[in-house]
Each structure stands twice: as C-alpha cells, then as structure tokens.
Assembly symmetry: none
Amino acid sequence: MKAEIIAVGSELLLGQISNTNAKFISSQLAELGIDVYYHTVVGDNSNRLLETIKLAEQRADLLIFTGGLGPTKDDLTKETIATHLNKRLIMDDHALVDIEEFFKRMNRVMTENNKKQALILEGCNVLPNKHGMAPGMLLSTDKHSYILLPGPPKEMEPMFQFEAKPMLSKLINEETIILSHVIRFYGIGEAELETKVQDLLDNQTNPTLAPLASDGEVTLRLTAKSETELDAREKIDTLQAEIFKRVGEYVYGYNDDSLASKLQEILVENQLTISAAESMTAGLFQSELASIPGMGAVLVGGMITYTEEIKVEQLGVKQQIITESGVVSSKCAEAMAIRIKEKFGTNIGVGITGAAGPDAHGGQPAGTVWIGLVLNQMAPFSYQLNLTGMRNTNRLRAVKFAIHYLIRLLREHGFTTI
Amino acid sequence: MKAEIIAVGSELLLGQISNTNAKFISSQLAELGIDVYYHTVVGDNSNRLLETIKLAEQRADLLIFTGGLGPTKDDLTKETIATHLNKRLIMDDHALVDIEEFFKRMNRVMTENNKKQALILEGCNVLPNKHGMAPGMLLSTDKHSYILLPGPPKEMEPMFQFEAKPMLSKLINEETIILSHVIRFYGIGEAELETKVQDLLDNQTNPTLAPLASDGEVTLRLTAKSETELDAREKIDTLQAEIFKRVGEYVYGYNDDSLASKLQEILVENQLTISAAESMTAGLFQSELASIPGMGAVLVGGMITYTEEIKVEQLGVKQQIITESGVVSSKCAEAMAIRIKEKFGTNIGVGITGAAGPDAHGGQPAGTVWIGLVLNQMAPFSYQLNLTGMRNTNRLRAVKFAIHYLIRLLREHGFTTI
C-alpha cells in the first residue's frame, strides 16, 4: 500500500508553522509497513486542493489529509473532497453533542460557525476527537482510502494513533509481521554510538538498525520482518543483546520510555520519594518529572532558589559555602541537594545550579552546570556539565543529565537492572 | 513570482525528521512577497524527483530544492536537475578547496566521494557553504529559476538568508515594500476572534489579515504593501486601531513577544519582584519565566508543593483551608499566593493548584485549575479554569493563563498600557 500525506493550510505556506504532522504520520505508517512517496502542502484554496487530490489519487492508494476541518470559511478540506467524490456532508449528532459539551466545559459561547465542524462525509467512519472539536473521518471507495485529520498536532496525534491506525492495520491485513523496537540512550553522542555499532549498521538487513539523534538523546530503532511475531521478536532480542555488549551502559529505556518515565518507574517500584532545589533550571526538573501521570506518589515537591538570598535564607545553604565556592559549584549543588532532602523529608535530594547563559553567572562561564545528588544516608555525589547550547537548550540538557545521573546512581546501587 | 519548495530525502518520508526547512524558506519568501503555493517532499529516487520537478515547473517560476547534495550515492538532486536541463556538472575549484579545508579543521580524513560535493551545475551562481561542505547553487533559465540548498538546517538557513535571499531580491527587483506585523492574543478562541473581525477578514486586501491559532494562542498577521515604508506602516496602524476597538482586551503583545517575555518586560520596567507556589504545574510556571534571559532581575524563586503536607508544613497554608475547601480551590490558590509572597518577600505572589489529569484530584475533575494572584497590598484575586486537554497540555495552558491573568491585572492597575 502506498500513501501520500497532504497538509492543508496557508499558514504552512507562509512559514508560520512547520508540517510536523507529516513527520508523525510517516513514522506511524513506517511501523505499519506502508510506503510514503510524497508529502504535499497546499494552501486553503479549493482549486489547488482539488488538483492535489487528483494527482495523489494517481500516485497512491491512501490519501491522508491534515488540517482544514475547522469552523471558518477557510477550512475546506471535507467540502472539497465531498464535491470531488460526489458525496454529501451530513450532520453527525454525536460530534455535535461533543462540540456543544466542549464549549460548556470551556465556559465559552458556541458560535453558529462551530456547528460546521460536526458535518461529516456521507458513508465515512467517524474518528472521534478527544482533544478538540473537529472529528476525523475515514472514507473508503473502490480505489482509494481517504483519512481526514484535524491540523493541531495535539488533536491529530492521538486521533491517528488510537483511532485511524487500528483501522488502517485491519485495512492492509498484512501477512508479514513487522516489529519495531527502539532502544534509548543518554550520555553518548550519535557519532560515538555509530562508531561502536558501525559493522551492525552496515551489515544488518533483518532486523534493520537505524540510529536517530534528537534533543541530546540517541535512539536505535530495530525493525524485524517475519511470518510470526515470535520469530520477529527473537531476531530483535538477538541483535539487542549484541548492542548491549557494546553500549549497554548508556541505555536508559525502550520505545515510549522517557528519562522521566523511567525514573518514575524506578522510584515507584522502590518507594523512594524525591525533592529538588533548582536554580538555573527554575522548576524544569520537577516539571519534567510531573509531566508523567502518577508522579505524585514519589515527587513531594521542592524549591526554586533563583537568588543567593533564597538559597541561604529559605533553603538553608550555608553562606560560607557560597562565599568560598560560589553559587555555581560542586559544594553548592551538594548542599542544595542535602538541604532540600532534609527539609522536605525525602529519600532523594537533587540540587541543580549553573549558568544557563547567555551570560556567565556566579563567576562561571555560560553552560557550566553542577548537579548534586543525595540518596538516603549516602554521602552526596556531584557531576559537572560544560554545555555549549543556547540558554533553554542548556536548561533542558541539565534536567536530562540530572535524571540520567540519578538513574545511573540508582542502578549502581541495585534499585534497577534496566 | 510563484515559488515551490521541494525537499529531497527519504528520511523525511520515513518520519525521522521534520521538514523545518520549508517553514524557514517560506517565511523568508513571504518577506520578499514571493507566493508559495506548494511544498513537496520526495524521496531519494531520481524518477520521482524528475516527475516532481516537471510538475513544479508547470506551477511555479522559482523551484527551491533542499537536500540531496551530499557525498553519497543517495544524493542525486543536482544530478537529476542536470540531466533534466541538459547541463553538465563541473568541478568548482573554490568549493573543492573549501571542502578540503573543512576536513582539515575537523581533523578528519577526506574520502574520495566527498569530492562529488564540489560538482556544480554549469552556468550557475555558487552559494558558498559557511557551515558545511556542499555548496548551494542558483541557476536561471528562460522560464525558471532553480535554487539548490543543502538539507541540514544549520547549513541551509544561513546560506538562504545571506547568499540566496539577496540574489532573489535582485531577481524580483521589487519596488514594493512589504511589511508584516503580528498581533498576539490570549484568552479568546480562534472562532470567537474571527467572528468579531469577520468583516475585516472578508474585505481587507491591503493590509491583508490572517488569523492563526496554536497552543491556545491566537495571532493576527497584518501584511501591508506599499511604495513607501511609512505608508505601509500607516496602513497597518489604521487596521490595528480598528482591531483593538473590538478585541483589544485580549492582546498581550506583538511579533516575537511571548507571554513570558511580555510579563518580564512589565516586571522589570516597574521593578516588581515575583515568586510562585506551584502544585499541578510543578515548576513549569517559574521555568517558563526563567526561559527568558535576564529574568533573575525579578524572579526570586518559589516552591513546588506537590503534596498537601508540603503545602501546610513548608509553605504555611492553613490546614483548615484545605480541610474546608480542598486543595483544588479558590481559597487554597489564594493562600498559596499570599504565603509565597510573604515568605519570599516579593511584590507579587502566584499560586497554582489543580487536577492536571488524567485522574481527578482533590475532589475536582481533571482540568479544573485555580490560579491565585496577589499584588502588593491588594486583596488576592483568583481565577478558575476548566481545561479539556491531556495532562501536559493542561499544565502548559494553566501556566499561560496564569501569565495572561497577571498581565491583565498589571494592566488594570496601570503598570502597563500594552
């Protein structure tokens, strides 16, 4: 099966937003083994959209549209498809009720043009929108399938993953099992990782092995094809064992794991509570942990100590430490970790202090970070980073490194095997 | 002049990376007044690339390619264009020297296939690559112009901006000044905003008016054309005044402003310090403020009070308030704001408490949020939100609403006019 992804929206052609939807859908289709030969972006113009549809019908079996399902006159994806396929648009009562309830929950007045969003293509399967108003649609004709999805990624991504993908999976009814498995690394660069598995990258055909770096993390995707799931799984396990021999120490998780979700898993399993005192990251470490549901079981809270006074007066770091070693120092990071652990009564204390940039801070150049960790009754540990990114990249990297070092520490002390 | 942007690379179709190049180039072309009707992504396949070129030549005057200029066999953009236009590829000595020097700087050995990168289209203008190896090209025929750019954004962006754009500017030899101005709104939905300016959207041609919604924010982009900058500016000012009459209360800034940068501007201008006590947002509010350089002048710090115990014992919220009203309540949010302001000695205190989701919390359904604000000696204010997103969308929206309400409060009390 060949697919083509068509994004509709003049804002894309004006360069106001990036077509991240095509990336997301493509990676999902790759997992299903569906080939994508083209992405197209077209504006809110029914003639050009129609031409795009006709062309895509010549090149692909499956046409996936994002955008143009909203309430305004500019939104014309379903209208254009309806005209082209000679289908009526009919009001979907479920979708209308959903939209009315959405407005009630938001305490907003529903305007008449919002009703337009509940119109669906006659004969389609409705894909409910759990995170917005416009429902999606899947329509199949003799020759083609058409999937219509809303533009905002927050609505589109869960709709594709949980509504459209299972339907597609049935549609293609593949005999071949395609199994994908992602190994996640932190603390090793892409080039270094590739060097260590170069022969595998060059010679592996089943499973294939694909490295990808983003946001300071590196992943390896293993994709196996086989007639049975068991055999595909075995192929992946064998290759994974070989990869572990070489770079296993940098592995923190698999597939949809994130550093934060992995840390949560370990903390919950061992009933270890955690608190943090943050300076340069200003709450980003704790916010990252709290992004995972259920973190309340282990994350107690902490302090953001942006100024020296707050570090001393509220957190209780000794003035002498700061005077002698500076706010960006091993001593200060460790003292922050120890004090927050004691104050908040947790098993683990984390202290993060540094110069995020663009300017130097505490006598240290931009990018210098100290992470202090203390676990139960052990002596504190500290780790220095010398980051080279811009301010907010440095802040995010500092958070990821803090989680990475904490997971390592917990592994070294037998709280997890990974 | 009409342009089409063609990205070449199978990694895009596999969903490994996003086509951010198209966004960047589109926004640059918009500034030049060049219309973009399509973006296309095509894989490393010369037949499909050729078809894409032929189609684009029917639809546009200017074809801009990104990617496929590298050293490997997969890289075939210039080869395909050369064959199609019946042009030779010739070795560019300058580019070859640049490539050799690049390898010296990187302390790497130059392999033979890297020389391929110095091949250019006969008769083209070379666009030097200051951040990588493959040079770019601009080639003009009777009917079309072709710009070939490397794929990596850090090479492509400066090359487009500093090499290709000035050439394009001469090519179109535009006498017309094009001025763009973005007005930023918060606290109003896209549909509601459009309803209030519908007549302007329908009837305005110069300036044009384009709405865009993302991440809970709505913007209006005003684009004026004129022979003089002064006149273009006046056209924008006149339309902006009309927009302000209708929806001015929701405006928080312009162009590259963010809610956080605007808040910082107001706080610094008025020398107002701020602290926050955060529950469901767990530091995200303060981290968002700290994402702006120089926030240290006004952000003192705060607490993350994830559990009830910490709210009471560390922050000092009265147990009675929580027992009577619950942790997710107006009373609790206000008490958090008051207590952190007192404890940290700031002008402004912010308290955020809520149920981020997916589960209910503190007896309130997921999405219920209370924001407490206290400013100097005034009585506290509180605001309820009923959000409908997923956990982390709700957390981010809560942060944005907190900043939005704070900016409003500061405006109402004369600290800013916006």
